[in-house]
């Protein structure tokens, strides 16, 4: 699975569950979720659970930071690195 596939799955999940939008809509993959008031801290917890279940990775406590979870691009890179490590 490459970064684009991961970003695509994340976009679809966010469009459907957080924005109630059509899956065909396009999200800015660099847009900050928190600064742009798209997702709050509960939403981040939901995203952490989503990536753990969807991509079969384990997220450590100290990895729950903005650098890893504040945009589609950041999450994609984080997940990709995790998959490469395993």
């Amino acid at each position: 699975m490459n970064d684009n596939d991961i970003a695509d799955k994340l976009s679809k999940y966010i469009l459907k569950n957080f924005l109630f939008a059509e899956e065909s809509e396009v999200l800015d993959i660099n847009e900050s979720f928190i600064q742009n008031d798209i997702i709050d801290s509960t939403g981040v917890i939901e995203l952490v659970s989503f990536v753990e279940e969807e991509f079969g990775i384990s997220v450590a406590d100290d990895e729950i930071i903005r650098e890893n979870f504040d945009s589609i691009n950041k999450i994609s890179s984080f997940v990709s690195n995790k998959l490469t490590e395993s």
Partner: protein, 317 residues
Amino acid sequence: MKITRDVLNIEPETEVSKIQSFARNYLLEYKKRGYVVAISGGIDSTVCLYLAAKTVSPEKVMAIYMPEKEIKDEYEFIIENIAEKAGVKVLKKDISRILGEFGCYETRNQSIKKLFPEYNPNWKYKLKISRGEKNINYFKIIVEDEQGQQKEKRIPYKEYMQIVSATNYKQRVRKNIEYYYADKLNYAVVGTSNKVELDQGFFVKNGDGSSDIKFIGHLYKSQVYQIAKYLDVSAKIRNQTPTTNTFSLFQKQDEFYFSLPFPEMDYALWAVDNDIEPEELAKFLNLEKHRAINIFDDIISKRKKSEYSHCEPLLIT
């Protein structure tokens, strides 16, 4: 404006007089005959009870104590003491059976068992906030077995939501009972949250957040203590550590929710509200600058998140 130790000082006598005036006018406006106050044994509800009894005669105040099986028995004595001193009779209503019927304990335990399969209902537990770097908060659960051994784990989304929603039954059941007596006696219900709790969303919507009038909702916690001293609330109550009184393991409020313990949290909120720079708060509270910046971010983020809990139902126009 500069932050100093005395920025939160108030004149208790004047403040009490103002609250009494609002409280009396509320009853006159809505043709109510007295006040219902739910008491927990903590400082906030005790002050509210004293204020109610001071505003109307004590026999026009209904104090209700609603324990459940996960709250320590030690509060019983405190409650009797508070009510006696306020001259108010207190009704004790144990809500364990109602909570059991609603599935409060069972559904919560199911979620805990998913995380700790060996968990049994005799174990104690509590939730704890963990602050990830740069303000991403998440929760951990701590369980304690019969031997006093503790274990902790981060709570995944589904289990977190189920534990919180089940636990919120406690506050909502209590509020139902308060309104039963308010309706029966034609009384108004006093909300006992303080300014910090309301601002930061430390309450349950339609639970402890619901009321007709909030006697201390405009006061920082340290101002509630000043009023408590003026009203001669016993030192035992004034010296207690504020707890959530919701989970079976002892838990301080800042461990569960707030960015800082009391009274530092009061000053941090005051600093945000009075455009004090994080650097100045850091110096005042002897913190690292980055920590003060994180606290500011956390306060603003919780305030934003609490908007949902405060808002009235939306009417389509």
